[in-house]
Symmetry: C2
DNA sequence: GTATGATTCAAACATTCGTTTGATTCACCG
DNA sequence: CGGTGAATCAAACGAATGTTTGAATCATAC
């Protein structure tokens, strides 16, 4: 089973990156939690940077594929096209936090933090991994928000991404703020609240155009 | 001028925390940029943690004072009460990024990242510094958004904070996304876009209540 | 001018980091 | 069985981290 150590390293790295941050998680912690030798990371991934990249790529590729799949199923001319597009964007990553082989849960937090990572190397890595998906969504926005000018569309897409990232990365704050009243780990609840809020924001009249 | 070194250390730490992250900015970088001796940080602040706390406290105290001052000036029964409250919340930190003694510019990015800091110590430090301000805003929300139930109000306040934090922390991404079309460093422009979007989101009908 | 306390300084402290090395173990095929 | 390459291992590498130390320097007041 050569794959076992590789996967164990990715799982441990994902969990520890999520909990302590990328820089603060040491290779010694990671390899110990994975039950592997210290040198295993450099053997399998070349370096810590290689490990970081692999951690993101493992989840981001299928994540963006699922997004684009759902986006393709949206009816962009329906009355609720905005809600459909938002759901296709938000649902895949929200679901990630609850489902399947346990480890995926951590990736949400890690991903929510990735946009504002201090390390430029990490930010560029993530940005380039997400960019093609972003371009498709901006294109969809041009169809479902024709009354906005291009700058407004980009601003509002930025806000959508911000609310999503904050919801995912800062669930601890939401729960403390609400005294447990709001549970951001429940994907259906989080999705509903997000879509309602963001769809209304996207529908706000243009600040410049007459229409 | 005993204050000179203290302030220089705070300025350098603020800039380097903002650029490289709190953990990645070393005391040697900080003291060198401040023109001080390596031991100066431990002398003036006791430890690196003490320095971090001082960096946040220096800006957060006046920031929250200004927020509450502006909030007190809002007419919560006016038609545009929502816009007024949002402006009072967003404007102070957006202005910080452009104005005054140079260093403040960096604090926005640092603050935008603070909510999702990996270090729990830092997060709690910032949370406790901001909490009283948050409580006042939640109270204002109860007045201007009476049709929502409490959970919805907290969710939406969370989204407001998220869009703001993302706008401040990830301006680089907005500019790259738009090819320079959107300039988040312009506080008036950013405020206008944010308020338009967020006010519409806050006005979305309740998902549960009948009204 | 000299004494006192605050401040600065160069140097070293013990840890920890990511990475490398070279030997050892393992699985698999001829 | 013997051999070949992948995989794992303990050990050490050099560099960087936050912190501490004790002497040197400064400003201030008597």
């Amino acid at each position: 089973m050569e794959h076992d150590t590789r996967e164990s390293l990715l799982d441990a790295a994902e969990a520890l990156f999520s909990e302590h941050g990328i820089e603060a998680a040491s290779l010694r912690q990671i390899t110990q939690q994975a039950g592997a030798n210290l040198a295993a990371v450099n053997y399998h991934f070349g370096s810590k940077d290689g490990l970081v990249q692999a951690v993101f790529a493992r989840r981001l590729r299928p994540l963006n594929e699922e997004r684009l799949l759902l986006l393709g199923e949206c009816n962009l001319e329906a009355d609720d096209a905005i809600e459909q597009v938002l759901s296709s964007f938000l649902l895949p990553i929200l679901r990630m936090r609850r489902e399947r082989p346990e480890g995926i849960r951590d990736f949400g937090r890690l991903m929510g933090r990735a946009y504002s990572e201090p390390s430029e190397k990490v930010r560029e890595m993530v940005t380039e991994e997400v960019r093609p998906s972003i371009d498709h969504y901006l294109e969809a926005f041009r169809i479902i928000l024709p009354n906005l000018d291009e700058a407004e569309r980009i601003w509002r897409f930025h806000f959508v991404a911000g609310a999503m990232a904050h919801t995912i990365a800062c669930n601890h704050m939401l729960e403390r703020l609400s005294g447990g009243l709001c549970q951001s780990t429940n994907p259906e609840e989080a999705l509903g609240q997000l879509v309602t809020f963001l769809a209304a924001g996207l529908r706000a009249p243009s600040r410049t155009s007459s229409n």
